[in-house]
């Protein structure tokens, strides 16, 4: 159990990550807003607490592996990597620009610290399962985490992966589903209903937990529980608020796939600051 002080520090990290996301998207002029903001708490938890990693040595073999399946939320991934020391925070402003290592969708070959290349949906869980399977073959202890969206559960490849991980009881694999209920064309349950997601994964042989994706200590406790499960892979269904941290866009699916304008960006940064009384000075 983390003491309150540590939880608060992680929450502040998440706010820094959010501020960086807004600055990145304004500078880029394109990209996704709602998903990255909604996942800032979870990325802060991973990069500043959960992952066994070394930002200065991204190739370190014993590191845990974090696979981002829904590559379009990469601004939050890049921001978390930068804040934890993989590369300078200023580089975040090159997002989506010509020559940048921060491609519009993540490319492993361009940026050390990325575990794969992603964007086309439904492919991350299989890759994570492949890694987990290989590590177990070799008796290696590192864990594999796969972050995925709810919308991409509509891809058939996801369920092929779910079957595979269930068959092989990949206990070193933990998937985290960003259950924010939105996708490009609207609410997931209108576009193509996904529920009952927990029952579906249980039927595929997974241990399933539901957690508030903005409750830092509950999320970390759920990850700890996943580590303790030895018979099955674990799925955390993390309920998140798309656009979290900027009240005027929270829950609005129109913000799935567009960036804020410069004016909106300024306003959003203020909202983030209002929430926690803190803002990254660089982009104010």
């Amino acid at each position: 159990m983390l003491i309150d002080n540590e939880i608060q520090k992680l929450e502040l990290r998440a706010q820094d990550i959010r501020a960086t996301i807004i600055a990145m998207l304004v500078a880029a002029g394109s990209g996704h807003t709602a998903g990255p903001l909604g996942m800032a708490d979870i990325f802060a938890a991973f990069y500043f607490h959960i992952l066994n990693h070394d930002p200065k040595h991204p190739e370190w073999e014993e590191r845990d592996r974090l696979i981002l399946s829904n590559g379009h939320i990469c601004p939050v991934h890049y921001a978390a990597m930068a804040h934890s020391g993989y590369f300078p925070i200023e580089e975040c402003l090159t997002l989506r620009k010509f020559g940048s290592r921060l491609q519009g969708h993540p490319e492993r070959l361009r940026l050390p610290g990325l575990e794969t290349t992603s964007g086309p949906l439904g492919e991350g869980l299989s890759q994570a399962a492949g890694m987990a399977y290989a590590f177990r073959m070799d008796g290696k202890k590192q864990r594999v985490y796969c972050l995925m969206s709810d919308g991409e559960q509509q891809e058939g490849n996801i369920w092929e992966a779910a079957m595979f991980a269930g068959k092989h009881k990949l206990h070193n694999l933990t998937a985290i589903m960003d259950r924010n209920n939105i996708q490009i064309d609207g609410m997931t349950e209108n576009v193509m209903p996904l529920e009952p997601l927990a029952d579906k994964y249980r039927a595929f042989g997974w241990h399933v937990l539901e957690v508030n994706g903005h409750d830092m200590s509950a999320f970390i406790a759920a990850i700890d529980e996943a580590k303790a499960i030895y018979e099955k892979p674990t799925l955390l269904i993390a309920h998140t608020i798309p656009g979290k941290g900027v009240p005027e866009i929270e829950f609005d699916y129109h913000w799935h796939g567009k960036p804020p304008t410069a004016e909106e960006g300024k306003r959003f940064l203020k909202e983030i600051r209002t929430l926690k009384g803190k803002i990254s000075h660089e982009y104010a």
Binding site: M137, A161, F164
Partner: protein, 328 residues
């Protein structure tokens, strides 16, 4: 005349020449590679027997992974395993692998540049009775368009074995293409094989035409050259198992010598081996090129030999095309 340096089978023109499907070469090569390197794993999608992945499974059960009928998962799991230090061979019919899972291969294997070896079985019309749905004719095109992808179509089972063993030792993503039906084994264990190198099968001092061929049809090309020679037309046959990267020097050399080129492949005429040759020669040594492939139609059920004849891909049609070009 036959190129002695190719160390072809002594029986190469005999009725009794040994036959085996190139997929057998996959099975043998995979076992060989598995013995040489513990990182080799073989993944299969419910076709262990017919892909010959089963031969590896018997030898290394702990390194064989059965995915069920899920080729998209096979490609992406393999990508993950490669990222974790393995060298995966993924085997299924070419229509599914790389047909069904093309985008997974593009994103998670090619763009991600991990050492997954994609093995497409039952390529071409010579699959026979299964018909058009299972006769993959577009795979070399799909694969050779991917940056960084090596594409190999072995000429016989012996060369297939060598190609698999060589692929296991070569970094990066590689596509290997195999066929179902037994074809003449015209090379021997002595025949040189190297990824990226073409093999001269038939040479002549004053060739009128060069026949460039890939896959098991190179044997038919060789037969055609012999018949042409008997009829007074000298030719060259260059077997090009590595479609990408091309052995540019060898291709340029035969094009310069003969001034006319016929290409042969069991694939759509568009986008495959002949296209690769034409693309290269158009920029370096433009000469007339006649591409023999399937002409923008799908296959159908039948015996392998009658299908190859029907689509104009047997020795008779190769000879006819070469003769016509030689007389321009």
């Amino acid at each position: 005349m036959r190129n002695d340096a190719a160390k072809l089978s002594a029986d190469v023109f005999a009725e009794a020449i040994g036959k085996a499907p190139t997929r057998d070469g996959f099975g043998k090569g995979a076992v060989e590679a598995g013995k040489a390197d513990p990182r080799i794993v073989v993944l299969c999608a419910d076709l262990a027997e017919s892909t010959r992945a089963e031969w590896f499974q018997k030898e290394f059960p702990e390194r064989f992974i059965e995915l069920g009928v899920a080729e998209q998962n096979m490609a992406t799991v393999a990508s993950g395993m490669a990222a974790a230090g393995k060298i995966p061979f993924i085997a299924s019919y070419a229509v599914f692998n790389p047909g069904r899972n093309y985008e997974q291969i593009r994103t998670t294997i090619a763009l991600n540049h991990v050492p997954v070896k994609i093995c497409g079985m039952h390529a071409g019309v010579s699959v026979g009775p299964d018909g058009a749905t299972h006769q993959m004719l577009e795979d070399m095109g799909l694969m050779r368009m991917l940056p960084g992808m090596t594409v190999i179509a072995p000429g016989d089972a012996e060369e297939a074995r060598k190609a698999v063993a060589a692929a296991a030792k070569t970094d990066g993503p590689i596509y290997l293409r195999f066929s179902r039906s037994a074809t003449p084994v015209f090379t021997t264990s002595e025949t040189p094989f190297e990824i990226g190198k073409a093999l001269l099968l038939w040479k002549s001092a004053a060739p009128k035409v060069a026949i460039l061929s890939t896959g098991s049809l190179s044997y038919a090309a060789l037969q055609a050259a012999r018949t042409l020679s008997e009829g007074g037309i000298e030719s060259i046959v260059l077997h090009v198992p590595t479609v990408k990267p091309l052995d540019e020097r060898a291709v340029l050399d035969v094009a310069r010598q003969a001034g006319r080129v016929v290409t042969v492949e069991e694939h759509q005429g568009a986008g495959g081996f002949g296209s690769a040759i034409a693309e290269f020669l158009s920029g370096h040594h433009p000469v007339p090129v006649r591409i023999l492939g399937v002409a923008d139609v799908f296959g159908q059920s039948g015996d392998p030999d009658e299908l190859l004849r029907h689509y104009g891909l047997d020795a008779f049609h190769i000879e006819k095309a070469a003769r016509a070009l030689a007389h321009i």
